[in-house]
C-alpha cells in the first residue's frame, strides 16, 4: 500500500481479512512471510510495537473504557503527568488539539458511555491519531453506524487521506467501498485474489471475485417471493407500551404495534431510539413499565425469557457474543441452548448426546456452517459462521414469532443473502417476523410493513407499497410530527 491512499480490503467472512489486519497490528505473529514498512522488514511482537511504528487500529468492537471520559480514553496508556501525577487538564488540552487538527467535533470531558456509537468510533480514531498513527486500520467501521454516520465517516477517511495518512478499510459493504476507496484488495480463503482500482470496477465484479467461481447452494437458492400472501392471525398486539432503558431513562414512550402471522414487520430507526428495548420486552428480557399487550395468546406483562420461548418466540439478538451464544461451549451445545430441555436435545433429565449431535450435523450442513464440526468450540468459528449457528438454532425451533435484531451485522454478501432467504422462508411458512435493523436497505428489502421509531415512539407506519426512502428518513430523524402515511 502507498502513503496517502485509501485501500479497502474486502472478502467474505472467514476470508482472513481480520487475521491479516491483526498481524499488521501485532496481535498475531506471522507463521511465515515478511512484513515491510517504508521498505524495511519489521516484526511487531505486540500492538505496542505497531503503535510505535505509526500503525493504528479501530476494531469492530470498540476498545474503550465506558466510564472514562473521551480525553482519558484517548491518552490511556500514555497519560501526560506532572510531578508523577496524572495531568488531566493537559490531557484535555492535547485531545482538543488533536480533534481540532483533524476536524473532529468531540467534547473531551464527556463520558464515553454517554456518546452515540458513531461518536465512540470517532474517539477510537482520535485515539489512534493521537498516538501518531500514519496508517489507520478500520475493521468493519460502518457495521454499527447509521447511514448518516457512515457518510460522515467517509468524509473523515477522505480527509485523513488528503492529509497524507494511509487508511486501510476492511469491509464487505461493496457500495460503500466503491464510493470511498482508491484501491480495493479482494481476499478469499486466506489469499489476496485480486487488486483493483475502485474507479475501474463495479459491485458485481467485486462480488464475483469475493465469492469465487461456483455460487454456493443456499445463497443461490431461489429467493422466496418478495411480497407475501395476506397476513394471518395477530401474534403480537401492543398498546401504549412503555419501558425504561439501561440508563434509567424512558426508552419506549407509548408504542402501539401489531405483528401478524406470515409477515415481516420492519422497525426502522437510528440506533438508540427504543428498538433494542422493544425487542427485549418481547423476549422477556426487559420488563415493561406501562401499557398492555398480547403476545401469542398471553399477556406481555411479567413475561420471562423461558415463557417467551415456550409460547413460541424466537430471538436472534443483536449482541451475539453476549446474548446469543456461549463461546466457550461447543457448537452443538450452543445449538441446544434454550431448547436443551426438549427432544432431540434431552431425554428426561439427561442430555441426549446422540440426538443433539445428529440435529447439529444436519443444521451445519443446511446452513453451511464452516467448519461443519459439532464438537468444536464456538469461539473457533468466524463471526459469520457463529451467526449462522444462531439463525439455524432459532429457525429450527419453528417459532411462531421471531424477533430479529441486526441479523446481518458484520456478515458477508453470501451470508447476508442466506440469512435473508431464511427469514423469508420462515415468513412464508407462517412465522411472524419482527425485524429490527439499523440498515434501512435491509429493512426495506425484507419487510411487508415498516414502523419507524424515533425517541421511543412510532413516528411512521408504511405498508410495502408506500415505501418512500426520503419520507422514512425524515421520520427516522424526527423532523416530522408523528403521523401515519
Amino acid at each position: 500500500m502507498h502513503r496517502g491512499e485509501l485501500l479497502a480490503v474486502v472478502g467474505e467472512n472467514g476470508a482472513g481479512k481480520s487475521s491479516l489486519m491483526n498481524v499488521l497490528y501485532g496481535l498475531y505473529q506471522p507463521d511465515a512471510g515478511v512484513l515491510s514498512l517504508d521498505g524495511q522488514p519489521v516484526r511487531f511482537k505486540s500492538p505496542r510495537d505497531a503503535i510505535a511504528r505509526g500503525i493504528g487500529m479501530v476494531h469492530q468492537h470498540f476498545m474503550l473504557v465506558p466510564t472514562l471520559s473521551v480525553a482519558e480514553n484517548v491518552v490511556l496508556g500514555r497519560e501526560p503527568t506532572r510531578h508523577g501525577l496524572l495531568d488531566l487538564e493537559r490531557a484535555v488540552r492535547e485531545v482538543s488539539a488533536t480533534c481540532a487538527r483533524f476536524g473532529f467535533q468531540l467534547e473531551p470531558r464527556a463520558r464515553v458511555d454517554t456518546l452515540s456509537v458513531g461518536s465512540q468510533q470517532k474517539v477510537e480514531i482520535v485515539k489512534a491519531l493521537h498516538r501518531g498513527a500514519q496508517v489507520l486500520i478500520l475493521d468493519e467501521p460502518t457495521a454499527v453506524l447509521t447511514p448518516q454516520e457512515s457518510d460522515e465517516l467517509a468524509r473523515v477517511m477522505r480527509g485523513l487521506v488528503a492529509q497524507g495518512h494511509t487508511v486501510v478499510l476492511i469491509s464487505h459493504k461493496l457500495k460503500e467501498v466503491l464510493g470511498v476507496a482508491d484501491r480495493i484488495a479482494v481476499m478469499r480463503r486466506g489469499r489476496c485474489v485480486a487488486e483493483v482500482r475502485a474507479a475501474d470496477t463495479t459491485a458485481e465484479q467485486l462480488a464475483a471475485l469475493m465469492v469465487g467461481e461456483g455460487p454456493r447452494a443456499p445463497a443461490a437458492a431461489a429467493p422466496a417471493s418478495a411480497v407475501s400472501q395476506a397476513p394471518g392471525e395477530p401474534l403480537l398486539d401492543v398498546r401504549g407500551l412503555q419501558a425504561t432503558g439501561d440508563n434509567g431513562r424512558p426508552a419506549l414512550r407509548g408504542v402501539d404495534l401489531e405483528v401478524r402471522a406470515g409477515e415481516i414487520v420492519g422497525i426502522a430507526g437510528v440506533d438508540g431510539n427504543g428498538q433494542r428495548e422493544l425487542a427485549e420486552v418481547l423476549t422477556g428480557l426487559r420488563s415493561l413499565t406501562s401499557g398492555s399487550g398480547t403476545l401469542l395468546g398471553g399477556p406481555l406483562g411479567g413475561l420471562t425469557p423461558a415463557q417467551a420461548r415456550t409460547r413460541g418466540v424466537g430471538h436472534i439478538p443483536e449482541d451475539r457474543h453476549h446474548r446469543a451464544v456461549v463461546k466457550a461451549l461447543s457448537v452443538e451445545e450452543n445449538v441446544a441452548l434454550g431448547r436443551h430441555t426438549r427432544p432431540p436435545f434431552a431425554k428426561g433429565p439427561w442430555i441426549d448426546f446422540k440426538g443433539r449431535r445428529e440435529r447439529t450435523r444436519a443444521l451445519t450442513v443446511a446452513y453451511d456452517v464452516r467448519p461443519p464440526d459439532p464438537e468444536v468450540a464456538l469461539r473457533a468459528l468466524s463471526g459469520g459462521n457463529q451467526q449462522k449457528v444462531v439463525v439455524a438454532r432459532e429457525l429450527d425451533a419453528r417459532p411462531r414469532l421471531l424477533v430479529v435484531v441486526q441479523p446481518t451485522r458484520g456478515l458477508d454478501v453470501g451470508a447476508v443473502a442466506q440469512v435473508h432467504a431464511k427469514l423469508r422462508e420462515a415468513r412464508d411458512q407462517g412465522t411472524g417476523v419482527l425485524l429490527v435493523s439499523l440498515d434501512l436497505e435491509e429493512v426495506l428489502a425484507l419487510s411487508d410493513r415498516v414502523y419507524v421509531f424515533f425517541e421511543g415512539r412510532v413516528t411512521g407506519h408504511f405498508p410495502r407499497h408506500a415505501f418512500d426512502e426520503r419520507e422514512l428518513g425524515r421520520r427516522m430523524l424526527g423532523t416530522l410530527e408523528p403521523g401515519h402515511a
Binding site: A32, L285, R309, A324, K327, E333, L337, G338, W350
Partner: protein, 371 residues
C-alpha cells in the same frame, strides 16, 4: 496435541515444578541426598512402604499410611468439589471452610443426640451435615442473587461468622459435652457407635467409608455437570450468564442451587471428619481443609475429576509428609508444595503460551532475518 491433554498440562507441570523447587530448597538447607530420601519417605508414608512389606513386614505398613492418605484425600476431594462446583456456575466459593464447620457441627449433633438404627444413623448425620453446609453457602448465594453482594466477600465473612458461632460459642457453650467420669472434656459429646463411619481396612488403618463416599460424590457431580440438562444449564450460566438468561435458563435458581451443592460438599467434608476421625466436634476443629479446597480445585482445573486426582495426590503428600520429619525435614513441606503448585497453576495462561510457542518455534526460527 489433543485439547484435553493440553488442558491437563499446566496442572501437571505446575505440580512437578513445585516438587522440583521444594527438592532444591531441602537440598540447599540440608543435603541433596536427604532431599531425595525425604521424598521417598513421603512416598512410602503416603502410599505404604511397599519395599518393607515385600521384605516381609506386616500389612499395616501398607494399610496404615493408606488410611491416613485416604482420610486426608476424602476431605480434600469434598472441599475441592465444593469450590469446583461453585466455579462451574461462575462463583468463587472461598467459604468452604465455614460451610465445613457447620457441616461438622450438624454431624456431631445428629451423631450424638439422635438415636437411630445403624443403617440410618450415618445417612442421617451425613444428610444433616450436607443440609447445614448448603444452608450456610445458601446465605452467600441469596445475597449474591438478590442483593448483588459479591460471593467472595460474603463467603469470607461467613467463614468468620461460622468460626465464632461454632468454635467459639456453641461447642464450648450450649453444645459442650457433659463431663465423663469426673473428667471435663473439650468439644461436643461423643457420637454414638451407630454414627461412626465404618473402617474398611481393619482397626489399624483409619481408611473409612468417607473415602469411597468422596469418590462417589465426585463421580456424581461430574455426571450431573456433563450429562444432565440442569448440569448443562449450570455450566452455561457460568460461561455466559446473559446468553443463558436469554435462552430462558433460570440463572438465579442455577446459581442458588450450585452454591447450595457447593455448601453440601463442604458440609460432607465436615461430617467425614467428625464421623470418621474425630468422633465428636473437637474443642477446635482447626484443620483448614476448606481453604485447601481452593488450591485443590484450581490445581484440578475446576473439574470434578481433576479435583479428585489432585486431592488424591496431595492427600498422599500430606500423609507422607509427617514421615519427612524423621530426616529433619519440616512437615510443612507438603503444604509448601501445594501452595507453590497453586501459584504456578495461577500462571495457567503463561503455561499455555509457553507450550504454544514451543510448538510453533521451528516455523518461526526458519525465517530469521538474513540481512
Amino acid at each position: 496435541m489433543p485439547e484435553r491433554v493440553r488442558q491437563l498440562l499446566p496442572s501437571v507441570l505446575s505440580v512437578l515444578l513445585a516438587l522440583g523447587v521444594c527438592w532444591v530448597l531441602i537440598a540447599l538447607t540440608l543435603e541433596p541426598g536427604t532431599a531425595t530420601d525425604a521424598y521417598l519417605q513421603m512416598l512410602w508414608g503416603g502410599i505404604g512402604n511397599w519395599p518393607a512389606y515385600l521384605d516381609g513386614a506386616a500389612a499395616t505398613v501398607i494399610t496404615r499410611p493408606l488410611g491416613e492418605s485416604a482420610m486426608k484425600a476424602a476431605l480434600l476431594t469434598l472441599t475441592g468439589l465444593s469450590v469446583a462446583v461453585a466455579f462451574k456456575v461462575g462463583l468463587f466459593n472461598i467459604g468452604a471452610q465455614g460451610q465445613m464447620l457447620l457441616g461438622a457441627l450438624a454431624a456431631a449433633v445428629v451423631g450424638a443426640q439422635v438415636s437411630l438404627p445403624g443403617a440410618l444413623h450415618v445417612p442421617a448425620a451425613l444428610l444433616g451435615a450436607a443440609l447445614a453446609g448448603a444452608a450456610w453457602a445458601g446465605i452467600a448465594g441469596l445475597l449474591r442473587i438478590y442483593r448483588g453482594v459479591h460471593e467472595v466477600i460474603s463467603t469470607i465473612m461467613l467463614n468468620w461468622v461460622a468460626l465464632s458461632l461454632v468454635d467459639n460459642w456453641l461447642v464450648v457453650g450450649p453444645l459442650r459435652g457433659a463431663a465423663e467420669g469426673g473428667q471435663s472434656i473439650t468439644g461436643t459429646a461423643e457420637i454414638q457407635a451407630t454414627a461412626v463411619l465404618p473402617r474398611l481396612l481393619g482397626e489399624g488403618s483409619r481408611l473409612n467409608l468417607g473415602f469411597p463416599l468422596a469418590l462417589v460424590a465426585a463421580l456424581a457431580v461430574w455426571v450431573w455437570l456433563t450429562r444432565t440438562r440442569s448440569g448443562f444449564e449450570t455450566r452455561a450460566v457460568g460461561l455466559g450468564a446473559e446468553a443463558a438468561r436469554a435462552a430462558g435458563i433460570p440463572v438465579a435458581r442455577r446459581m442458588g442451587l450450585a452454591m447450595a451443592l457447593a455448601g453440601a460438599m463442604a458440609g460432607l467434608a465436615g461430617a467425614v471428619l467428625v464421623l470418621g476421625t474425630e468422633g465428636r466436634y473437637p474443642g477446635t476443629l482447626g484443620a483448614p481443609y476448606g481453604f485447601d479446597g481452593i488450591a485443590i480445585a484450581l490445581i484440578g482445573n475446576n473439574h470434578p475429576l481433576g479435583a479428585t486426582v489432585s486431592a488424591l495426590f496431595f492427600g498422599v503428600l500430606r500423609a507422607g509428609g509427617t514421615r519427612m520429619q524423621l530426616l529433619g525435614v519440616h512437615k510443612s513441606f507438603p503444604e509448601l508444595i501445594q501452595g507453590l503448585a497453586l501459584l504456578f497453576v495461577a500462571g495457567r495462561m503463561v503455561w499455555l503460551a509457553v507450550l504454544r510457542r514451543r510448538s510453533v518455534a521451528p516455523a518461526a526460527s526458519a525465517e530469521v532475518p538474513r540481512a
